[in-house]
Symmetry: C2
Subunit: 324 residues, 2 copies
């Protein structure tokens, strides 16, 4: 099969958007649906599948439950919306014990409580593997949703938190290095990502961001989505990227901070653009998380990485693609 | 694992309903969400999984695409609502060709066109099997959604169309008898179920039905859902059930019309209750489909089947349970 992007393109051709009340459809973090009144609904759907997104042996059920909902809710954060309710469809192997299921629900309930989400419906079926699909619905004041398509040349490129932390954790799990002493803290972001809801809502309320996406696939890929949707390019200043700290023994094994930060997925930070003249209104921290200015939007439709020595290279999307 | 009902009960205990604006949550065909204005949103989520709900060898991709969306949309019909838009999450094996995918999308687009649905978003991932999850959103005038919980003693029990047709088709496919001559027409309902959207909306607009459900799991199981939700029982008159016609050669092989009609799943007809004094306003056909009065609601909380000779027996839920 082709890349995810090609698939989505074919889906989009087959299902052109022409809906009354549907402000934004396929191709943003979430759809925006007019509710008729002074608010809009923001809706996103996300799959979380055993052996692709998680391993039943390595990831305890409470992590599976928590992370499934955190990932999907991050799309609500990326629109600047307030989470409201969610729908769960679940395929569950006969071998999953009552304890597995209860721990799974416990993790999901913990996430729901933290994010202010109510379970509103769903569907459960026996299946060979654990397959989870979540639809999350949020609410936002009319016209305030922050889309991928609003970046303009000259805007500054900003990102919250630290990049590459989740990828570092995932690599440790894949290589089975995560059980060694002192490694638990390196797994935190991989196991319990934190959708940046407060920051997203703060940006929407203050009308500071012209575009926004969450870093689910990795900076290089997600920035590509924003640039394509906005019809612009970008320059990224490598020394400004808030990259993960990697212990020296792991760096020697090839886990390089800048590569992890550029291409590592699942950080669920917010990547957004701010008009240069509004940048002074951007605090160092908002919604409890730090913010970094890492580049700027350009007219020319390509994404360029500039290193500390001023050397320029093309930044290709090399993050997560479920079809690669 | 336990039965689906037990699982749902555990989910419900973990996620109590306390949402502002959420009129109906887990346990009905769909959730009802206030949009603030004069209409409400009705939302349902449904999984359609390879090797459980369909077989890639027996079911062509256009059937998979059509039926996945028809099933989910039937829950919107069962609330009396108008379909609006849907979200698709999809896991797709690398072995699925471009043609398979295009035919799948074609079948889904045909269903979307028929039902008046717009694709609004989703998520695609590579996976070992085809796993589909759909969230469908509909709209209805405030307070008009027909719930499972409104049946009252004395109400007449009605059903649309014919029961057992889909189960007959599924049995033929399972036994690989479906390729024989003259069998194609017996498969129609199994392959291309028809959500009763016009009938559901007609019943809601005319305030005729006190409760409603779609027959996705089979009459015996779905009637059980209505009775439990409403705190009532029912008498079903066996000779009144509009059962599938089964060719004599298949009847000799054990495919018995009444059993198929009582316990066969996936007909996606509407099962609803009507106050006795309004029954005269019920035409023989509405929304292009015939209607049959097949019993009545009783105070005593059990479901009884009465045969042509007046003999009574308990009607146990023996329809589809994904965990049996």
């Amino acid at each position: 099969m082709a890349s995810e992007e090609t698939l989505i393109e074919r889906v989009r051709r087959r299902f052109p958007i022409a809906l009354n009340g549907l402000q934004v459809g396929i191709g943003d973090d979430a759809a925006v649906l007019s509710a008729g009144g002074k608010s809009e609904f923001v809706i996103t759907a996300d799959a979380f599948l055993e052996n692709v997104h998680f391993l039943r042996k390595a990831h305890p059920p409470k992590v599976v439950g928590y992370k499934a909902l955190a990932r999907a809710t991050s799309d609500i954060a990326a629109m600047g919306a307030r989470p409201k309710c969610f729908f769960l469809t679940l395929g569950l192997p006969a071998a999953c014990t009552r304890k597995w299921f209860d721990d799974f629900l416990g993790g999901m309930a913990r996430a729901a409580g933290r994010f202010g989400l109510q379970l509103a419906g769903g569907d459960t079926t026996k299946y060979a593997t654990v397959v989870i699909s979540l639809t999350v619905l949020g609410e936002i004041d009319r016209g305030r949703a922050i889309l991928r398509s609003g970046a303009r040349p000259g805007d500054l490129l900003c990102v919250s938190g630290t990049l590459g932390e989740a990828e570092l954790g995932w690599r440790l799990v894949q290589k089975n290095w995560h059980t060694r002493k002192g490694r638990a803290r390196l797994l935190q972001k991989h196991l319990y990502p934190e959708p940046r809801l407060a920051l997203g809502q703060w940006l929407a309320a203050n009308r500071l961001a012209t575009s926004m996406i969450d870093t689910s696939d990795g900076l290089s890929t997600d920035l590509g989505h924003v640039c394509r949707a906005s019809g612009v390019g970008a320059i990224v200043w490598a020394p400004k990227i808030p990259a993960v700290e990697v212990p020296s023994d792991l760096r020697r094994l090839g886990l390089e901070p800048l590569r992890l930060a550029l291409h590592g997925g699942e950080d669920y930070e917010l990547l957004f653009t701010v008009p240069r003249k509004l940048a002074r209104r951007l605090p160092r921290k908002a919604g409890g998380v730090s913010m970094s200015i890492i580049g700027e939007i350009t007219e020319e439709r390509k994404v360029v990485l500039v290193d500390a020595g001023g050397h320029e290279s093309t930044l290709k999307p090399m993050g997560w693609d479920p079809f690669r």
